[in-house]
Symmetry: C2
Subunit: 454 residues, 2 copies
């Protein structure tokens, strides 16, 4: 089982425990939160000067939180599902006790007064917030300083660059990211970790920097599917203050994810408009995967995809211009040239095109949802290839991600492939509000391919 | 009590029964629906050739519905709160058994397959749908053919022109209207009837022509406050298909409206930016009203109002362009020049201005809502003066209405005043989701002024 492949309750490998294993060890008293957090901080001290995944990390403050968690348990109190487990937070998500600088000098030294709703939920579940991870400028496309631990000399992707790199380097079991186009799935693929963006509305976005109210989604970067489920479970709650949040009971994704599918899944390989232009090495890797999957994978066309990609682009551009427009007005000299250009282009989006793109969403979703009458999940690359080299000065293209973000569908990248020693993920997409089945299918796929290549 | 002032269970005045009285007479068997509907049809036959309130009315079909209602009761079945009562429907609201032409030759002969949700609700409550009332072109500003029965030679206002005129002429006890800026309240004021636009989301907009998903609201034109409450009660239900609809139990507005306020209301007269430019005759009439109200009415400033008026304008223009843009592309020759210009202007609204106007709404509402810590309701004119003369070629300005539509607040126009024999309403505005208290305050105001002038 992937989630346990690095589990080791002793010695320095304690930092490699899965979330579930770590929480269980801590709750039982076999491991202290202090020991776990210390082990992670050691890794950070050793590796982060090179990787630069963290925007802010105060070891003493992390240890203080860990000691509190230990005292809490020792006093006989109950332990939440993340009790004492360190989690890192992308630096566009507000924390009341740490700076939140949104990857922009404009917000240098900014300290929000309140935790974001998702951070508050993690604390309620017992998590230690170990620090803030590097984001690209305002969670958009200008590359950040972070390196890719799994692919030296290549971008870690963006915008959740530090979250993906921190998990990939083993500095922390998991980290929060956000996705407006492809900011969770793409870095996950490039760094060889799991990236899960749940259904829009499952996790509240209150206290998260807003660049697009239609698209912004909180997600997670983890070492396993189970960890992604546990982490999202802890943050899943209806928040009436977030208009996309919807009332429901806790989904128990962790339970569903570990179940065996009642019948063998059938996957749809979507021939997206971007596939033909993707990296030839990726074509080869996916051909191999298709060979291993055999009849389980069927290639299909969905002509609406080109429109969906364009609608996502229009919506993001226009909403970016609206939410960041005041920065262009008042702080243009502190924005990167690329972002300035983007906001100028966004301001020029015709309002009718914007509103038509918004209006098209539900029908487009219905169209795609019809595929699920036959298919358990859609399988598609999470990026056009492995991570681009740093010399290209880009974080890669979100063209394989934006459409699913627009449709609000849950999507996960699983680190199943490799080309030229560079990680490459496989993306599975599920129906809205059907996150548990998506994760179950993802685990099934992981096991299936492991057996096929064993 | 205003709702009973014309009540008469016998003879030709049967057409003047209030909704509640009519339903009660029919349920008890003292009056048949056929008799009531026939009396209304007689009025329509006599008056409508001149007034032109109806876009479509088939007397035989109306009588057929009435006879069905009578047979239903005679078979011992239970009667809904509108059993056998004729209601007219604005012709932008879909009806499965009558044409719906949206006031535009582009939709000449159009017959929707389904009833709008609110029409279906009326039928469930037992109503007889007596016909479709004239709307201005696509519910916007180009005048319709309808005349004002209460002010000959003057516009009935718009866009719910036929609904207001039909009720004012006594052809029908009540009619549905819709409001995106001021299309219920303004014609109510001009025609001397009651116009009530409930909280956005109380009545589903499914099956109603959409010109602005942010602003469009279903409302009613009636002969009394109680009738408005009874009618909205019958249509109030959560509809998950309408994104602004919200879950709740039935509000029982009719019960609340007839209660006595627990303490004497205090009303805020809002000095809106449009007040200074309003008709001087209206200034006089309102000064008299203020004199009669004495300490009950306090004049206050709210500097944010100018911004709110502008935000409503921006949102409506932009969304009009989006929803009607295809008509401009494909049927420009069948649109009025005024509407063509409007759609062209709307298409040029900068997307950033639009999104900022959308984003400003909740905070603006919070600002206005603060006033309700002291005031029971806001009192303001429903229009800049009495109905403009037909020679002006306009339906009047919605500048006193659009801001409340934008804020989603319930608002009612009460026909309390008159200048030069022209009706003039008084508008009361309540907190969102507090429609019952608004109606109760409106009844209190009506009684208070009746006693003050008696």
């Amino acid at each position: 089982m992937a989630s346990n492949r690095l589990t080791n309750a002793a010695g320095n490998a304690i930092a490699d425990l899965s979330i579930a294993a770590a929480a269980s060890e801590i709750a039982s008293g076999r491991v202290t939160s202090e020991a776990l957090v210390s082990a992670c901080l050691e890794r950070i001290a050793t590796l982060d000067p090179e990787i630069e995944a963290f925007a802010w990390c105060d070891p003493a403050y992390a240890i203080e939180q860990a000691k509190q968690a230990d005292r809490w348990r020792q006093s006989g109190n109950g332990c939440g599902p993340l009790h004492g487990v360190p989690i890192a937070i992308k630096d566009i998500i507000d924390t009341s006790d740490m700076p939140t600088e949104y990857g922009s000098p404009i917000f240098s030294g900014c300290r929000p007064q309140q935790d974001a709703q998702c951070v508050a939920a993690l604390r309620s579940a017992g998590a230690v917030i170990i620090g803030k991870t590097v984001t690209t400028e305002l969670a958009l496309l200008t590359p950040a300083k972070t390196k890719n631990p799994a692919a030296p000399g290549h971008t870690p992707g963006g915008s959740s660059a530090g979250s993906a790199a921190g998990v990939a380097a083993g500095m922390v079991p998991a980290a929060l990211g956000t996705q407006t186009a492809g900011s969770v799935l793409r870095p996950a693929s490039y760094c060889g970790v799991y990236g899960f963006k749940p259904t829009l509305g499952l996790i509240s976005r209150r206290g998260v920097l807003m660049q697009s109210h239609t698209l912004d989604t909180v997600g997670v970067l983890t070492r396993s599917i189970e960890d992604a489920a546990v982490l999202v479970d802890a943050m899943s709650a209806h928040d009436p203050e977030d208009p996309v949040s919807y009332p429901r009971s806790q989904p128990n994704l962790a339970g569903l994810a570990m179940d065996t599918p009642p019948s063998e899944p059938v996957l749809a390989f979507l021939n997206t408009p971007s596939w033909a232009d993707a990296d030839p090495r990726m074509h080869e890797a996916y051909a191999e995967l298709a060979g291993a999957l055999g009849g389980v994978l069927e290639e299909i066309d969905a002509p609406i995809l080109a429109d969906i990609i364009e609608w996502q682009r229009i919506v993001q551009l226009a909403e970016n211009a609206a939410y960041y427009g005041a920065l262009l007005d008042n702080h243009a000299d502190q924005l990167s040239p690329g972002l300035r250009d983007r906001l100028t282009v966004g301001s020029a989006v015709p309002v009718r095109a914007y509103l038509e793109a918004i209006a098209a969403r539900e029908q487009a979703y219905e169209k795609i949802a019809e595929l699920y009458a036959r298919y358990t999940a859609i399988l598609t690359p999470p990026a056009p290839g492995p991570a681009p080299g740093l010399e290209e000065g880009i974080t890669g293209s979100p063209v394989f991600n934006g459409l699913w973000t627009y449709l609000g569908m849950p999507t996960i990248s699983i680190p199943l492939l490799e080309v030229d020693d560079l990680p490459l993920g496989v993306q599975l997409v599920g129906l809205r509000r059907d996150d548990g089945r998506l994760l179950r299918t993802a685990r099934w796929l992981e096991n299936y391919t492991a057996n096929a290549t064993a």
